[in-house]
């Protein structure tokens, strides 16, 4: 990474800088409020690097959830990533080795959105440009988490209720998705299946999500002829 690449990449990442610092601060603060030392917040942001996934992670850690539940919930919240990768196949084709592995690891919602929209300026190597954007975003996320975790550990105010930030984040994502999608049946299917499953099985351990997910996928497959007529083209990549 050289100066020129950095100078070209940085301006594109400023919106993510603002977003990641603030969402990261809230994440770190929630972790400290749940009783985890700042090192854990930093470790999570370094190795997991997923906004909504880590918000859910706080909840999973705070409830001492079994590893199988952790794996399952992490999988369903991150399922959308499968689609990001698909539309990045072409863009990442010339990137090789460890750097490619890192770019795949670092493909968050925001980085995905940035990389989809930018083209490297004249005289800047494309793969260095994309890599720099990914790395900067990751640094912002780690920095925000550490700031929040340390602040949460030092400032002793009553933090009861701060875990609501996870709910708030999901509502925000839902609004964004609602407005970028013209078919809303999946939203009602998701909410309805989960609610029915919750009422039948109760909230313990989040296990009610498993039958809910089965109904969801089954329902979506059944609804496919209506939602996805063969003639209509598909555009992947929306979502949070």
């Amino acid at each position: 990474m050289n100066r020129k690449t950095l100078a070209a990449a940085f301006p594109h990442t400023v919106p993510v800088l603002m977003g990641y610092l603030s969402i990261g601060i809230v994440f770190g603060w929630m972790m400290s409020a749940a009783g985890f030392v700042p090192l854990w917040s930093a470790a999570m942001s370094l190795t997991i690097y997923a906004g909504s996934g880590q918000y859910l992670g706080v909840d999973l850690l705070a409830n001492a959830s079994p590893l199988a539940d952790v794996a399952f919930l992490t999988l369903i919240i991150n399922f959308r990533h499968l689609v990001y990768g698909l539309s990045m196949l072409e863009k990442f084709r010339d990137i090789k080795g460890l750097r490619k592995l890192y770019m795949i690891f670092a493909l968050t919602d925001e980085t995905y959105a940035l990389l989809s929209g930018v083209t490297p300026p004249e005289g800047v190597e494309a793969k260095d440009f994309y890599f720099t954007i990914s790395l900067l975003d990751h640094i912002y996320w780690i920095a925000g988490s550490i700031i929040g975790a340390v602040a949460g550990a030092l400032i002793t105010i009553n933090t009861e209720g701060i875990d609501f930030a996870m709910t708030a984040l999901f509502i925000v994502i839902a609004v964004e998705q609602w407005q970028s999608n013209d078919r809303h049946f999946p939203v009602f299917l998701g909410a309805g299946a989960t609610l029915a499953s919750l009422l039948l099985l109760g909230p313990e351990g989040g296990r009610f999500l498993i039958p809910a997910l089965v109904i969801l996928v089954g329902g979506l497959l059944l609804a496919r002829p209506r939602l996805d007529p063969p003639a209509a083209g598909l555009k992947g990549g929306e979502g949070a």
Binding site: A43, S52, G53, T74, E160, V172, I173, Q177, P186, V187
Partner: protein
């Protein structure tokens, strides 16, 4: 939780998250078109899963007392209104959370 249990949970989250990002590259790396049904689920599953997770967030509300459910629903409504109004992630999340904290700490 012991440090080992925390570390294991974090490792599981890291590995699973990475796999969801890496799978398309592993499966469809070279000139292979992904099946249409995967593209279809990739488009419509995310909004359904977010709806599912919102229900998950509300799983522990209790209707035994008004303080068991009203704060979460009022704060959720505020997030919705703020976000429809300003479309600013931070304002919606921090505003809704502070309002919720105020409700559970000072009102109910």
């Amino acid at each position: 939780m012991t440090n080992l249990q925390i570390a294991l949970s974090v490792a599981v989250m890291a590995v699973v998250t990475f796999l969801t990002r890496a799978l398309p590259f592993l499966l469809f790396g070279r000139d292979k078109e992904p099946p249409k049904v995967i593209l279809y689920l990739g488009r419509f599953l995310p909004p359904a899963v977010i709806a599912m997770l919102i229900v998950y967030c509300y799983r522990s509300v209790s209707f035994a007392a008004v303080g068991g459910w009203l704060p979460a629903f009022l704060a959720g409504a505020l997030v919705l209104i703020l976000h429809l109004w300003k479309r600013n992630d931070m304002l919606s999340i921090v505003g809704g959370t502070i309002f919720y904290m105020f409700l559970v700490q000072a009102v109910f």
